[in-house]
Amino acid sequence: MKSKIIPIAIGATLGLMATSASAATLDDVKAKGFIQCGVSQGLPGFSNPDDKGNWTGIDVDTCRGIAAAVFGDASKIKYTPLSAKERFTALQSGEIDVLSRNTTWTMTRDTALGLNFAGVNYYDGQGFMVRKSLGVDSALKLGGAAVCTNTGTTTELNVADYFRANKLEYKIVAFEKADEVVQAYDKGRCDVYTTDRSGLAAQRLKLEKPDEHMVLPEIISKEPLGPVVRQGDDQWFNIVKWVHNAMLNAEELGVTSANVDQMKSSDNPAIRRLLGVEGKFGSNLGLSNNWAYAIIKQVGNYGEIYERNVGPKTPLGLARGLNALWNNGGLQYAPPIR
């Protein structure tokens, strides 16, 4: 019995430390003059460095949007690249203010880990890539296939679930690193390559002949990725949530970084509320009333961000799919500003 005291003591200390960091984040951020944003250690299209060493990507733009809303300046931001292991400790300990690092919203993380997911900036899901020459157009025809994947990830478990549920034979060929998996698939050691669809698009670029491969339509898992904040700071939670919503509303209303200045004189009341011409929506968040104007002007609406980082014109070439607005058949839906 005695031996249980130390783990409990450590746990209690950690718990205390974790809650002590949950004071008003907005005040802290304003005091220090920048937002500390946790990003990945490199994920194409989400957070990766460009040739000059600046961070770019959807997750990075979410952070820039928050900085624009809080300071009116999207560049008042510092990035902390975090590994998957470090990311939650970094948030809990207050080392970062917001975690925008392709983190899947799951129940455990939302509840037991003391985190809040402030929306979904990318709906991802696990998919399959095959050679066109295989002549397969559906994952249901993959019976007996050798499947390449990473070891020890949920990807592997999802494949097992899917093939078992559909009573298909399969063989797993698993590797530690993504690069090894791509190599093995490219060299023909397996018929199918499976990972998140955004990952498939990125890894496809590393294949010798990308045009000879296709992604099957089936999506076998739900991976809603979004920005994360600490539980217990509702004001900051609201800000991060509404930065994303403002980007969505802007796209829905046709407000872009190019026309945002003309739009200020629009007659549409929804646009006038969004851009702070009418109402006091910004001050309800604890921000200035042109918070959304700054986001759109400096970062852009959701559609612009998507097209710039992962859209069809980028090397990744991901179609909008689930990430289209709700009125275009997608899942991106923001509550109205009123």
Partner: protein
């Protein structure tokens, strides 16, 4: 019948053609027996298998320039593509400086130039002014480099100076006490000792906290070769004196010091470097009060320095143990104090003997710096790997080229250290060989 006696020497014949020149060398070295002949052919076949593809990949079909990844895609350029050196070229700034702001990179360059400029005359034995050079490298250069890299202008506050004044007063009091009451030392020596510690220390802090007009650059922006060199050089420079002290302490007669040194060495040797780095980056922030935040790079530097010091201590201890007892006894018979004996008799011999071990530790440390990647610092290898994720440069050959370039850079540094150590060994060789 006349006896024929040669009156002149017979003309000297040239040696058989099969023992001289290229043919002779080949016979001797490559085809001297059946086994060797077979091995030679196997070797030639292996070279044939390995070398032409490497040359083809690295030079003939390599892509040297390009705007983005399309330049390295064989279906876009219409030929087989080997190495994508255009990627290395595009990311070269990041590989050398990390994400250090472009307009401030001259400061890093200056640090590189000063460092190598002072190091080269230091390691070439025939050049003069070793003493001044060493003073510059060990005392002035670190401060200059620190201010140039971080921007100086550190906010210290008056609290520090009050604490510092109190400390100096206490030290002066101790010196006064030791001189006038205990009568162990002369008062002048005591004051001199305190001043020798306090004045340079205050000067360094004063300079570091002065506003020199340099924009501050936080360490999270450092990366690439800069981080690799900062971590490796700090580890190497700090581990040497700490390691020597620990090695001496471990062989000391004084039980508390010996126990402390043994515990320290065994603790740091007993945990993997990855664990140390993880503890410092993941656990430490949880235990510190909020707002108190050590710089990540500083945490890594301390961890690496202590870790390598423990290894260095054991290497040095190996050298100390190899010194015959007679050397110690001879030194004591001359009436030398402990420190003089160590400095003038024992350590010079011991360190010379363990040069290969010391350099081994240095090279190991240099390569271990790549582990800082797991705490979110991007060293040479880390920044190259990070840039693999740039979708504009995602091609089949990007990662091979990046890794090859990292390997070349690492090899240059490690091979350089290793050759220099062999040179020093030969130079210091005074015939203790059997």
């Amino acid at each position: 019948m006349t006896h024929y006696v040669r009156t002149k020497d017979a003309p000297l014949l040239p040696p058989p053609a099969s023992t001289t020149g290229i043919v002779g060398w080949l016979r001797e070295n490559l085809f001297s027996s059946v086994t060797n002949t077979i091995l030679t052919f196997i070797g030639l076949y292996l070279i044939y298998l390995i070398v032409p593809p490497i040359i083809n990949w690295g030079f003939l079909s390599a892509v040297w320039t390009g705007e983005d990844g399309d330049a390295c895609r064989s279906e876009k350029v219409g030929r087989a593509v080997g190495a994508c050196w255009a990627f290395v070229e595009a990311k070269f700034g990041q590989i050398i400086y990390g994400r250090y702001p472009v307009e401030e990179r001259w400061r890093v360059t200056l640090v590189y130039v000063l460092g190598f400029g002072a190091l080269i005359p230091m390691v070439v034995p025939s050049l003069p002014y070793k003493g001044l050079n060493a003073l510059f490298l060990l005392a002035i250069y670190p401060v200059v480099a620190f201010i140039l890299l971080t921007g100086g202008n550190i906010d210290i506050g008056t609290g520090f100076w009050i604490g510092f004044a109190v400390l100096v007063a206490i030290l002066l009091g101790v010196a006064f006490f030791a001189a006038s009451v205990a009568k162990i030392i002369e008062l002048r020596d005591g004051i001199k000792g305190v001043a020798m510690f306090a004045v340079p220390f205050a000067a360094v802090v004063l300079v570091s906290s002065a506003d020199l007009g340099l924009a501050p650059v936080e360490t999270s922006l450092w990366g690439g070769l800069l981080v690799t060199l900062v971590v490796a050089v700090t580890g190497i420079v700090a581990s040497m004196p700490i390691g020597i002290l620990l090695a001496l302490g471990r062989r000391s007669q004084m039980p508390i010091i010996r126990l402390f040194c043994i515990a320290f060495i065994e603790f740091w040797r007993g945990v993997p470097l990855i664990t140390v780095l993880f503890m410092s980056s993941v656990m430490l922030p949880l235990f510190l009060p909020e707002g108190v935040n050590f710089d990540k790079l500083l945490r890594v530097l301390i961890g690496v320095a202590l870790f390598s010091a423990a290894y260095m201590a054991e290497v040095v201890r190996g050298g100390l143990q190899a010194i015959p007892r007679g050397q110690y006894e001879g030194a004591m018979a001359l009436g030398l104090s402990y420190w003089k004996m160590m400095r003038m008799i024992v350590l010079p011999q011991a360190l010379k003997m363990v040069i290969p071990g010391i350099v081994n530790t240095f090279i190991g440390l240099f390569k271990d710096t790549t582990l800082v990647l797991i705490v979110g610092l991007f060293d040479l290898l880390g920044i190259i790997q990070l840039n693999f994720t740039d979708p504009n440069w995602s091609t089949p050959s990007t990662s091979h080229s990046g890794y090859a370039f990292a390997a070349i850079l690492f090899f240059v540094f490690c091979f350089g250290m290793s050759r220099y150590s062999i040179f020093m060994e030969n130079r210091l060789d005074t015939g203790h060989r059997n």
